[in-house]
Structure formats: structure tokens, C-alpha cells
């Protein structure tokens, strides 16, 4: 499968997915770590893609949504942003709401 299709699949098939350096348990970058922590604090399951383990995705993700940096967080197929936006939304309580709605919506539809 083409790399853009693989990215698209990860984005569309998961209600919440983070493309990050490392994993939520073993993050390899401070920004990825903080964003993953905010998602974990929402208390719902989410998917992750370790871009350091997939050079093709590492190279091509920036042009997928025209966003130059990592991590990238997608909810319901849409780019929410990177670390700073995710944290700011978490501090305002918006992230928890979005994540919960996306995960519950997925279950209801599933």
C-alpha cells in the first residue's frame, strides 16, 4: 500500500490517533511525550504510530496534512494540531470532550 494510503487509513480508522516519536509508554521526544500524556489523561483508548519506526511515514506525514512537525494528533479523521494545541485544549477541557465524543461515537456506530 502506498504510504499516503497507509497514513490515511491510520487517520480514518481510528477515532483518536497520535503520530509521535516513540510510544506513549516510551516517548523519544518531549513534545510527543507531553501530547501523549494529555491524551492518556483523557482516560480513553487511543492509537499511536511511532514515526521513528516507520521512515516512510516520518518522511511523508508532513505533506499529508501540510503540517511540518511532530507529533500530530487526529480526532475523527481531522488534524487537531501538535503538542501545544493539544495541551492548550486539554487545559481548557476541550480535548477530554472531543476524545470522549469520538471514542463513544465510534462505539455507538460500531
Amino acid at each position: 500500500m502506498d504510504v499516503m494510503e497507509r497514513i490515511d487509513q491510520a487517520v480514518k480508522e481510528n477515532p483518536v490517533v497520535i503520530f509521535m516519536k516513540g510510544t506513549p509508554q516510551m516517548p523519544q521526544c518531549g513534545f510527543s511525550s507531553r501530547a501523549a500524556q494529555a491524551l492518556m489523561a483523557c482516560g480513553k483508548e487511543f492509537s499511536h504510530v511511532n514515526v521513528l519506526m516507520d521512515p516512510e511515514i516520518f518522511e511523508n506525514l508532513p505533506r499529508y496534512a501540510n503540517w511540518p512537525t511532530f507529533p500530530q494528533i487526529y480526532i475523527n479523521g481531522e488534524l487537531i494540531g501538535g503538542c501545544d494545541i493539544t495541551l492548550e485544549m486539554y487545559q481548557k477541557g476541550e480535548l477530554q470532550k472531543m476524545v470522549t465524543e469520538a471514542v463513544e461515537g465510534e462505539k455507538a456506530a460500531g
Binding site: 513534545f31 511540518p68 512537525t69 488534524l79 494540531g81 494545541i85 492548550e88 485544549m89
Partner: protein
């Protein structure tokens, strides 16, 4: 021109910010001393009025596209409209309005 000056000049020119801080945070990271790899930008501008965070960051990312591609490894971004900035404690408080008392 240093990368820091380059970032400052571009953001100043394109966004005419009310407030702009470009902070070199490279020394917090695993890079040689004197590096210009990790930056934090705190910026308040009219250009962000009524825009979602994701759109604000896109705007800055586009202005700094070349730097992000070739020079900067990480960019922390804190974007505010002038009104949001004024509400923040860290922001410079607005000067009091004239109350008309004397010339």
C-alpha cells in the same frame, strides 16, 4: 543573520504582532552549545482574531516554512489574539484610559 533574528523579522513583517517573543530553547536539548535548533514563539496578533488554533499555527508554519524545513528542529507555538493576550497574566497590562482630568 541568526536563525532567531530571521524568525523575528519574518513574523514581525508578516503578522505585525502586538507582542512577540522568540526564545531559543536549544540549550535544554541534546545539541551542541550555541545551537539554534529549538525555539519557542509567543505571539499576539490581529491576524489570529477569530481563528482556530490549528489555523493560527498553520499561518506561522507557512511563514517559517523554510526555517522549519532546513534549520529548526522544534518550534513551540503560543498564539493569541490581542484580546486573549491582554487577559493573560503574563501579558503587559493595558494602560489606563484617559479620564479627562486636565491637560
Amino acid at each position: 543573520m541568526t536563525v532567531q533574528q530571521d524568525i523575528e523579522t519574518k513574523l514581525q513583517d508578516k503578522l505585525r504582532p502586538d507582542h512577540l517573543e522568540v526564545i531559543n530553547e536549544s540549550s535544554n536539548h541534546n545539541v551542541p552549545p550555541g545551537s539554534e535548533s529549538h525555539f519557542k514563539v509567543i505571539i499576539a496578533s490581529d491576524a489570529f482574531d477569530g481563528k482556530l488554533l490549528v489555523a493560527r499555527h498553520r499561518l506561522v508554519n507557512e511563514i517559517l516554512a523554510d526555517e522549519l524545513k532546513h534549520k529548526i528542529h522544534a518550534l513551540a507555538l503560543h498564539t493569541y489574539s490581542p484580546a486573549e493576550w491582554a487577559e493573560l497574566n503574563g501579558g503587559a497590562p493595558a494602560s489606563p484610559p484617559c479620564l479627562g482630568g486636565g491637560k
